[in-house]
Amino acid sequence: MSLKNILENFSYYRRDAEAGGHHEYEHRFAMAIDLDICTGCNACSTACYAENNLPVVGKERFEAGQAMHWLRVERYWDEIEGDYPEQGAKMIPMMCQQCGAATCEPVCPVAATYHTPDGLNAQVYNRCIGSRYCSNNCPFRVRYFNFWSYYEDSWPEPLRMQLNPDLSVRDKGVMEKCTFCIQRIRNAKDKSQREERPLVDGDIITACAQACPTDAIVFGDTMDPESRVSKAWAKHQIHRGPVTAKKQKADEEIRGYRVFDELNVDPSVMYLERVRDTEV
């Protein structure tokens, strides 16, 4: 009886992210990306195309801004007065940050995007009606919409033989984004279940982290204190949850930060600041 349900669990259902949320998380997958050793080579992005059946949209549609790179390597120039960018360029792999308090989630009219017990910001393609509100409300702009039907154009025979059967090819009208390779998470969970053991660090490795030639991307579960990513977060004094005074970094010069942390969205990707030898 749902009335009974409401009355009995009301205070539980009223808990928000600041109060620990209603979720009982099983895992909270997260990343740590070291921008000092990220070279901006694009291997992660291409690996993502290969793993996640991302369509190649072609020049005209790329020009129209309809590219589907779930993981894009952004390049920024320094705003400098001098003649040359002597500190090189700034590279950052930008993908869905799997925010703990994601702004995209509450605006979806049909609950097609929601938070999984794994701490992922999941997108249910079948449920999506394409209102695109989630993308509008994403400060990172990392949600990609299927503006066209790409299947015929992007995968002419026999290119489509490469498609990963572990996940679908999305048709027009559906929003999609980085899933932290949810099919790999699923497979690893199945495997650990079969082997009757808990998931351990390293069981799951996302396509981007796997490909990275400098191992700049570390993926893991922040609920597991022994995981590499947990240690990296702890070392760089970044804590889960929205930013509160208590949780701020003790030392501002520690490298860890989350992009747009000031928006209180609790991103699951920690970046480590780029380092430049300013003495040369």
Partner: protein, 174 residues
């Protein structure tokens, strides 16, 4: 018992009102003031005054509709949210009151408006057939007065009409 229904057409409200006054004043045995109905192309604010207290209780139903809307709204939304636990989103609680208030407000109005309209259809006697006495001039500029009388008072009512410049008198048996 009244067994005749009379319709008289008048040129203006004042003529009709005089007839009403006369009926009220003469205390005819078979004619109650409640048996008098006035039909008009427009609404005259004095009609109620002349015809006496005839209450309209639509507002009570509206209130009930509104209360139902807001209560139903709350429980409907909360029940839906509490049974759809996949919804936890963006760090928001499962039952998100601020958003539910918005929708409760809309549902309040929705139910209030519909109850009002449905009650109106019932209370105003629309959609029900009541007699054939009618003149198309009623929708132009003439005022009609319908009186239900018994045989005894028939003539005196008719004479009131005539005295007050009735343009036309129609009659039917009830």
């Amino acid at each position: 018992m009244s067994n005749h229904r009379l319709l008289a057409m008048f040129k203006d409200f004042d003529d009709a009102f005089e007839v009403v006054d006369k009926i009220k004043g003469k205390a005819l045995s078979s004619v109650e003031i409640d048996d008098v109905t006035m039909m008009s192309p427009i609404e005259h604010p004095d009609i109620d005054e002349k015809l006496g207290d005839r209450p309209s209780n639509i507002a009570y139903f509206t209130l009930m509709g509104a209360i139902f809307g807001v209560t139903f709204g709350f429980f409907f939304l909360a029940a839906a949210q509490a049974s759809f636990l996949v919804q936890p989103q963006g760090g928001k609680p499962v039952i998100a009151l601020p958003t539910n208030f918005v929708l409760m407000y809309e549902m309040l109005i929705f139910f209030a408006v519909w109850t009002t309209v449905i009650t109106f259809l019932g209370m105003s006697g629309l959609l029900s057939r009541r007699g054939t006495l009618y003149s198309e001039k009623l929708t132009v500029d003439e005022i009609g007065l319908v009186v239900e009388v018994s045989d005894g008072d028939l003539e005196s009512v008719k004479s009131f009409f005539k005295e007050n410049r009735a343009l036309e008198i129609r009659e039917e048996k009830v």
